[in-house]
Symmetry: C2
Subunit: 264 residues, 2 copies
Amino acid sequence: MDTNTYSTATPIEMRHLIRQGAYDKPTSGLCPGYAQANLIVLPREQAYDFLLFAQRNPKPCPLLEVTETGSRATHIIADDCDIATDFPRYRIYRNGVLDDEVTDVQSLWRDDLVSFVIGCSFSFESELIEAGIEMRHNTMGRNVSMYLTNIPCQSAGSMSGNMVVSMRPIPYEQVVKAVQISGAIPKVHGAPVHIGDPSVIGIKDISKPDFGDPVDIHPGEVPVFWACGVTPQAVIMHSRPAFAITHAPGCMLITDTKNIDLRG
Amino acid sequence: MDTNTYSTATPIEMRHLIRQGAYDKPTSGLCPGYAQANLIVLPREQAYDFLLFAQRNPKPCPLLEVTETGSRATHIIADDCDIATDFPRYRIYRNGVLDDEVTDVQSLWRDDLVSFVIGCSFSFESELIEAGIEMRHNTMGRNVSMYLTNIPCQSAGSMSGNMVVSMRPIPYEQVVKAVQISGAIPKVHGAPVHIGDPSVIGIKDISKPDFGDPVDIHPGEVPVFWACGVTPQAVIMHSRPAFAITHAPGCMLITDTKNIDLRG
């Protein structure tokens, strides 16, 4: 199946391809109009703390669905969806340290695992593009720039850590429009958390992102920062639970839920 | 202290009066502009299920704050706030059955209790009134009419039950305005869940509410139904956890949070 075929695949067709191991790359641009999602999987023992963490930090952790303990199936964001096979790539963390990156976690699955499926900025990016706002990382063919900030999340039991943000350079005359469009979609991180000087939120060098790739900022543009679904990975690294599974950055779940249904 | 004094009391002053046992009545109309809140307290053993229930049912259960296990203090919606004393009246449920109504639960407090503080429709009522929409139950000096519906909530582990709704008669020409105003405040139940024929949502006799008081519906008015913060009490009755504490209907916590800050 070539790239042209991917470009017309439905969400369920893409999940099947990914499940069969036929696609293991970033999902940006696939199935336009449909929401993609971040993943964090934790044992039931830590699940209460993480659920409370997400409740207290809805901007970085907008929950789209929390599965039943032990179940690999989703029911709200997609049907015929297997959490353990339908992301192109997964990361395995042990005691807060990245231990492995794999394309399938069936062999690691346990009856006590709970999956948290979290909204993804790809959903608001498509609306920003529709409004005529360039996504520089797309234009440059790169992953979005992500940074660990000095903004502490509200901690919850054993879970704590600082917020990770994604950055998009926006021309001054489009900043208000970008705030309003993204602000209308709270289930995918909502309005920006910061506009302008990166040092205010603890970013020392904008050209050296902690995750993803650097992108150019042109004269007349301001860096705009949104809460990012990679925040749970920073929380895992900081809080050091014995075991956790996440998606690999950029390699998301393609859901049956339309972006437009995440508004309001 | 007479009623005139209550009418000018600040939230912290009212919480102190209630804490001292000087006020044990419904809180409707007190501290205008400030959000009031529903309560459900459960042992940690059931807290994960209820937190997940609230995540899956945000319209009836919009969480304003979840306390640390064992703590009686809030930190987000109010400071200097004691969950065990600052509601005028509490209800004690054992195995899903209403066992007692008291003005203070200090003697019942345990180190394993978790408090869920939930948004209250008083917050959007004040905005509806400001927009010129009569709240009939206020005009009649009664409690709002509440009904158990046939709308199933999304269950979560041991927690399940049908939605409780509150009803307000609205003139046809104000229905759209009422939807838009309340819809802009998702943290206090948001837009209505049903407009019109009560039998569609399983209400057999609109003149016999399951909670609160009946109110008159005039010609040219339609009954409009909103998800209600009494839903957790119906869930407790249906799911029968060994022990639970709730507020008594109408006897709410007065928070330091302004209604306007619950928008969006």
